[in-house]
């Protein structure tokens, strides 16, 4: 099921703008596999280009957070947003970047704990302590 068409490699080859992004995905990741997310976005070339450009900058360019930490933050967001596709793809990405079973267990415990205390704080509508204010 999907609400849009997924582009095959043949269709991608016939559209230079889409092909340029797919070529860059393959080159950047050093893999021939291009997952369905990009095949769905191919229907919207401008969105495809902008999204891939942001992903490269945010997730791939080196910075002060290591790549695995970024993936864990990504999965945390995707879990709460209940994005099945994103949880699957980024858990696979985290494993490919070395996530161990033990780290996954600790990650799950933090996500569960945060969800639990979020519910408590929202149900009790606890006022923010002035000590936490920065603005």
């Amino acid at each position: 099921m999907a609400t849009t068409k997924l582009w095959t490699d043949e269709e991608v080859a016939g559209d230079p703008r889409v092909k340029a992004v797919f070529d860059d995905i393959r080159a950047t990741r050093q893999s021939d596999f291009v997952n369905n997310f990009w095949r769905a976005l191919a229907n919207q070339p401008a969105l495809l280009e902008r999204t891939w450009s942001s992903i490269k900058k945010v997730m791939i360019e080196p910075g002060t957070l290591d790549p695995l930490t970024k993936e864990l933050i990504y999965i945390a967001v995707s879990t709460v947003n209940s994005c099945s596709y994103c949880v699957h793809s980024h858990t696979a990405a985290a494993r490919a970047k070395g996530l161990t079973e033990e780290q996954h267990g600790e990650f799950l415990a933090v996500v569960a704990m945060a969800s639990e205390t979020n519910a408590l704080a929202n149900a009790l509508q606890i006022p923010v302590d002035p000590e936490f204010n920065v603005g």
Copy 2:
């Protein structure tokens, strides 16, 4: 505003079960400051004990994820759950654990990027690639 009473130190002192948890919070954190979250939970001693016990195990006991990474995962979850209290308290905690402005910027970029692609994947209802399946 709140939907429950916040306990003062005097009230805490009068309830041995609540006092024991507050004493342990102060001893564990080596600080006299106890934030409103615990003052609200004090109305429910069993819940207070269980929540503090889990927080200690999940967030404080050493493991394979470092303390700052855990805080970032916590803030990511709290942001998507729109828990104002939790975002404030854990951003303060992350700063106390050394979060730099540059790391905060990269964290924000990942949370924003994940939210954006979650929306795209959910709007397009993209089918999960079989390559991502583990179960």
Copy 3:
């Protein structure tokens, strides 16, 4: 702060359609107090009428679930949707219907537990057991 005007009693008195709903709210609840929710909806008479009519049918008409149980379900939904207004107003309503501190504590524990296991099930993308299927 608000994104719309809140109607005063004087303004309500000047609009027969809005006044009819406010009169019915006061008569049904046997109280002169009309909370801000209705004062904000007064800008949209058709929406005001439809929403009050549904609330009366769903929350006030007797049925097989008792009024307090309905309030707890309402607060649970409002907590997860992070609706500060609704959590405040329906926790007050639940208290007015007899919610004890002990029941509130058990309610909070269930909401927290569900949030925690929701996060785990969504992070692990656990397939539904065929035993749970009804459709």
Copy 4:
């Protein structure tokens, strides 16, 4: 998978109250196809009647917003609520009302952009400018 039974046309024919709603759905939409949403609600005749009556008033009766704009707002809400069923059914409805691929692309870009800035504003807990207050 489902948590409730889906009514077949034969079952619908045997229940006058449910049949009346199904007849009206078919007459209003000028189509024999009745989708699973209504077949699931058929288990709860009062809820079925109220929901269909609201949908007719809100989505079908002419007003100041055009039908396609209403569908886009509907899909936006359903996307963030991660309602797979609703995203599928209302994207199909939007296409039936003339949504072009280009409009879909712009819609997706707005939904993604809003999700991104929502995450940033919630993570930073930015105070609302007094200029935006109306209430």
Copy 5:
């Protein structure tokens, strides 16, 4: 699809720590059936133990809220969190605890009504009436 392995009974039998939890689940529920949620958590023994221990305390130990009410609160939370697995498993649990079709209809009406008014209150950013404040 899943992002983690589901343990078979053979695998469970080979790990004493996991086996102890599974034995207790079977004894407590007086049923040989152990659902996928626990088979997925088996990869993380500490998390498995803590989660089962909390579930027993929160959902099974007698208290002031009856077991069916707790299940309805659980399903309400799971619905808003869009946790397909949890909605399925707890609706089945509620049915096993005696949920009638009529009660289910009223539950659905309350969940729908709360979702509707949550959206209105959040879109209008209605200020909380001081009458609702407890803190």
Copy 6:
């Protein structure tokens, strides 16, 4: 309250990278007023630049959806994400673009209706009709 500092005009003037974005915001909107969102992002120049560049492209560049429709989609997303800041700022933007009280009422009705049926579809886990599949 906020979790980050809000930049004053004096501070902005002292940082050429931030100043360039603020100048462009003022020029593009033909207004001297710069709202807190940008003053908070000023702490992260790279994120500030990328976010403003996307907003200009997605929300301001002419396309096939009119500016008011885009604002309504934006508010719908922000409402469900419970982003108080974003609901306030984009409702103000929609009003500035001509949103009438009557259109606002219809918008609210659609957002409420969608939230209601999302809850029903998620609680009933209704299977997607094959007729809605495009992928």
